[in-house]
């Protein structure tokens, strides 16, 4: 039952938090314990995959492909582990930032239900079940967006809700038509069934619908508009976990679907992914340069990072997919770190708006230094994890003779550095504009839980940058399992790879 635990533990935590809803201190305790328990579960799964390769469990004892299968390979295990660690960090961070009114309205319950939905999406081996997990995490994320309940939150939420619901309907249509074309829903079984489709139109129609739906979840060009319209409206805690996890679920679904279900040599697939990924990188980084609010800049930087991962998949070699996995996993820590330092800076400076910010450097130089680190990591400056992600990606692109992609990745990295330096300058170096309210001369009390979570995330990103070898090896195993899914299929359907 090991594979059911990443789903069961967050749901149980959510229920306990709901039962304790009248008492925020107990909710916080339960929330933290639940998040920590998920880390233990996820590391057990990662250990098992490292030792024996991909493995599967059949829920209810129905043999695959008839029942619901839960399966984990290196990609799933890595994502579960990173998700649970980010979960702990965000719970801890929320202790400092989330208002008690939000906690009384069920912030912790919604957060854990969302984590359960995300974990479910990572371990399910069934395409329709994946749709159900998408809906679970979606409805919880709706709740998290509006739990504060202000005008801005409603406005952001309606855009997020409308566009995401449209995308899930696309997903459901794709699943239905694929079932009509193949008679299969189990993803390992679909690998066989899709290869037997004789009419390429069925392949294109279903593949395009799924790519549209997952692309919208991942905020891929041209269906990313919901993200910068909504990610800056909830609390920073919620923004951080959304940025770390939700788009990544879309990326995971794209990685899984277009390596396992659809053969990578499907006509037009690599070209479409490459074009969409490259445009996502460019649009993301230019959006980040054009925006004038902290979290709107960060929202566009989320989009740019998604482009890198999809471009890695589109190159299609084992090394490139491994680079994509490495990029994906380290980026989750990085996104929590970015939003965390952003909150610390905005809390001191008083505004997210660049027109009302500045002059923080003389009063808070330590904060300024901390603020710089995740930004540098995102741009790919050594010695942070983002550096190795870019090294692996550019190396794989050069090995595949995709020169322009390598050049584009480096160019976008440079522009990201500019965008992050600009944000630093607007918040810290620029003299404080006359319109801005005066800075508090006294230092506000240090928010210890938030600072601890921030330092932990920055520490992880730095550690991966200094000691990259085991993490790269992990990503290479994941890449090999994605490039040749026979071990995953054998684990689900039985038989030997």
């Amino acid at each position: 039952m090991l594979l059911a635990l990443p789903i069961a533990v967050p749901f149980l935590t959510g229920v306990v938090c709901l039962a304790l809803r009248a008492s925020p201190p107990f909710q916080r305790l339960a929330s933290l314990i639940g998040a920590a328990a998920s880390v233990i579960v996820a590391s057990r799964i990662a250990e098992a995959v490292l030792a024996e390769g991909p493995f599967a469990e059949q829920m209810g004892g129905w043999p695959a492909p008839f029942g619901i299968t839960l399966a984990a390979d290196m990609l799933s295990a890595g994502l579960l582990l990173v998700t649970s660690i980010c979960g702990v960090a965000v719970v801890l961070f929320g202790f400092s930032e989330v208002e008690e009114t939000s906690e009384l309205r069920g912030h912790h319950t919604l957060l854990h239900v969302m984590l359960g939905g995300v974990s479910g999406a990572f371990v399910t081996g069934d395409l329709f079940n994946l749709y159900v997990w998408f809906e679970v995490l979606l409805i919880a994320s709706f709740g998290l967006l509006v739990v504060r309940g202000g005008r801005r939150q409603f406005d952001g939420a309606i855009r997020y809700v409308a566009l995401n619901l449209t995308a899930t309907i696309g997903f459901l249509t794709g699943v239905g038509l694929l079932y009509g074309a193949t008679g299969a829903l189990n993803m390992a079984d679909l690998h066989r069934a899709v290869a037997e489709i004789d009419d390429p139109r069925k392949l294109y129609a279903t593949g395009a619908l799924l790519l549209f739906a997952f692309g919208a979840k991942a905020a891929l060009f041209p269906v990313f508009f919901w993200l910068p319209a909504s990610y800056h409206t909830p609390s920073f805690t919620v923004s951080a976990i959304f940025a770390a996890l939700l788009t990544k679920v879309g990326v995971y679904a794209i990685f899984r679907t277009f390596t396992l279900i659809y053969p990578p040599d499907t006509p037009y697939l690599a070209e479409v992914l490459m074009a969409a990924g490259a445009l996502t990188m460019v649009v993301g980084v230019f959006g980040a340069l054009a925006e004038r609010e902290v979290r709107r800049v960060l929202s566009f930087s989320v989009i740019a990072s998604i482009g890198f991962m999809i471009v890695a998949l589109s190159i299609g070699t084992e090394a490139a997919i491994a680079a994509g996995v490495f990029y994906l996993l380290q980026d989750m820590f990085l996104k929590v770190a970015l939003f965390a330092v952003a909150w610390l800076a905005v809390r001191r400076g008083g505004s997210e708006d660049f027109r009302l910010s500045g002059g923080l450097w003389p009063v808070a130089p330590m904060l300024g230094a901390l603020f710089l680190l995740p930004g540098l990591a995102l741009a790919g400056v050594p010695p942070f994890s983002g550096f190795w992600a870019k090294v692996l990606l550019v190396d794989a692109a050069l090995a595949a003779e995709a020169w322009w992609l390598a050049a584009l990745a480096l160019g976008v990295g440079l522009l990201t550095l500019y965008a992050m330096a600009r944000m630093f300058s607007e918040l810290f170096w620029k003299p404080r504009p006359a319109a801005a309210p005066a800075l508090a001369t006294e230092r506000p009390p240090v928010p210890i839980p938030a600072l601890a979570a921030t330092l932990a995330m920055v520490g992880i990103v730095t550690y991966i940058g200094v000691q990259p070898a085991p993490f790269i090896a992990f990503a290479q195993i994941a890449g090999a399992q994605l490039a040749d899914p026979s071990a995953y299929i054998a684990a689900v359907l039985g038989g030997t790879p």
Partner: protein
């Protein structure tokens, strides 16, 4: 029969897209629920239309005898209906609160989170 169903699904999808693009959130919701019903019908049709018997297994048998209807699409649709209904209820309440906060449900008049210019 398949053709009639397909045409009906296409018509429903067309009407719902028209409603969803109208820029009024109430119309959007009506369009969305219509679209999800169109998709449910499409899944139903993907399971093949037939006049076969219900998929019951006679006593003492291990498998149904003769032609039986495909029960799986109905299970999928049932799941999708339940989920769709929950999301619809949430969206309705959200639009109601939006109306309370802004006094309008025309999406172009609401630009608090994304101001223009």
């Amino acid at each position: 029969m398949e053709l009639i169903m397909a045409a009906l699904i296409g018509l429903m999808a067309a009407v719902s897209v028209y409603l969803m693009l109208a820029g009024n959130m109430l119309r959007f919701i009506v369009g969305l629920s219509l679209l999800s019903n169109a998709v449910n019908l499409a899944i139903f049709e993907a399971g093949r239309l037939s006049f076969a018997a219900p998929p019951f297994i006679a006593e003492g048998e291990k498998a149904p005898t003769g032609d039986v209807a495909n029960a799986l699409p109905q299970a999928l649709i049932l799941t999708a209906i339940v989920i769709g209904f929950g999301l619809l209820a949430f969206t309705l309440v959200l639009v109601y609160r939006l109306y309370g906060a802004f006094g309008t449900v025309e999406i172009d008049e609401i630009e608090n989170a994304e101001p223009r210019g």
